[in-house]
Amino acid sequence: MDKIISLQIWQLASAYIFIVLLLLIVKLRGIPREKEIIIASIRMTLQLVLTGYILMYLFENSNPVITVLVIVIMEVFAVYNIYKRVKLTLSLKLKKIIAIAMLTGTTSSLLFFIFVVIHISPWYDPRYFIPIAGMFIGNSMTGISLGVSRLVDGITDNRHLIESALMLGASPKNASREIVNNAFDSAILPTINSMVGMGIVFLPGMMTGQILSGISPITAIEYQIAIMLGILGSVALSVILFVQMGYKTFFNNEHQLNI
């Protein structure tokens, strides 16, 4: 295996030339985006440095309670992020369902992945558990965010069609079937598309990271395939749970549209 190239501080600093280049472009083009670029660069640097130290601490102090705690914090942050990302007013019921779907979908697929697919020992080994959980939770968060927007917009925009279907004796499930299907489809499509380009158009971050850190590309690919399938499962499970429970919040006990 090739020797790993450890970056010197000046080498890392030289990479910031790309930020300077971007700042130059926006300045010359008169695009008022300098502030955001600087803030994003600083945040990215500080967050990653902090994460690096936290992960180092966690890897050296492997403990099931801490691993679970980290997952809980990630889940809470992801759910909060969905509420913030979706620029719609969400009912308390829908917010609860988002949280339940996120938690159930990601946890069940994560546990299957940890215990069956890669079978790590001990199961809480943070070196595996935390990055894999991050990828499952992050992708499911994006999927549910899309699903929420599509479901809420779909029901609001097609209120007239849904009411007409109810008047014809449709159950809420049948009256909103097409909208629920569209929301699910839109939410999982980005994950499916990313699978299509994988390995040809781009090398995924995790795989690139493993290859750069000296791991054989074959091992990196094996992990990447397993991770990609796991992500797909986690996104699909979280989103289907969300849409299946979510549409019901728009109807009351008398099967009337409640918006």
């Binding site: 007239h160 069609l161 009411e163 007409s164 279907a165 109810l166 008047m167 014809l168 004796g169 449709a170 159950s171 049948n174 009256a175 008398e254 099967h255 009337q256």
Partner: protein
């Protein structure tokens, strides 16, 4: 068929007592915003009244499952929805939604004749004019063969001549098939010509019945 007792819906409708007979044509007339559509929506539980009780065949509708009720008491809104697909898809949609057995093409063509819609079954429904869409939606409801028709201004998008033909066909159809037809109409002329029973609503209050009720 329907009996309303002390029914209130928010501050829109307030009806002390009202009887709507079965197997008759009942027209609901009144000014815009007087609560006519709300009354129809209460009868098939698209809205729930805030006070009082409505009885359907002597059973309080609050105790009848909404979906089962809507499969017997079908409502056609003033601007009916046209679903994506063909004329045939739209005709069959009501049967599919209400989980009733589908019918053959001969019966579909027969329905198109009743509503005077001379269009091929494979025509894209979204390309029809407003009046044609209204007749297509009416055909969809007739095909469901419900016990009660709740029609909200079923001829609002039709010209005078077509309106007369369609309402006449509808009246004949409901008489021949012993259906209960409850229809909101802006036209006092239609009400006078076709209704066995007229309900006038003003400011959410039921004014007076006209005609005999024997339901």
């Amino acid at each position: 068929m329907f009996q309303l007792e002390n029914v209130k819906y928010q501050d829109i409708l307030d009806i002390t007592q009202l009887h709507i007979p079965s197997r008759k044509i009942t027209c609901i007339v009144g000014e815009s915003g007087s609560g006519k559509t709300t009354l129809l929506r209460l009868l098939n539980k698209m809205n729930s009244y805030t006070e009082g009780e409505i009885y359907y065949n002597n059973n309080p509708i609050s105790q009848i499952d909404s979906i089962s009720l809507r499969r017997e008491v079908v409502m056609l809104p003033q601007t009916p929805a046209i679903f994506s697909g063909t004329v045939e898809d739209n005709l069959l949609m009501g049967l599919k939604f209400s989980e009733k057995p589908l019918v053959d093409q001969k019966q579909l063509l027969n329905i198109l004749e009743i509503v005077h819609l001379n269009k091929p079954l494979k025509e894209n429904a979204n390309k029809l004019s407003g009046g044609e869409k209204q007749r297509l939606a009416l055909g969809r409801v007739i095909l469901m063969n419900p016990t009660v028709f709740l029609l909200d201004e079923p001829s609002s998008a039709l010209d005078e001549k077509t309106e007369k033909t369609i309402i006449q066909q509808l009246a004949d159809y409901s008489k021949q098939n012993h259906k209960t037809l409850i229809m909101v109409t802006h036209s006092k002329n239609i009400a006078k010509t076709y209704a066995d029973y007229i309900i006038e609503i003003n400011n959410g209050k039921f004014i007076k019945p006209k005609g005999e009720s024997n339901g």
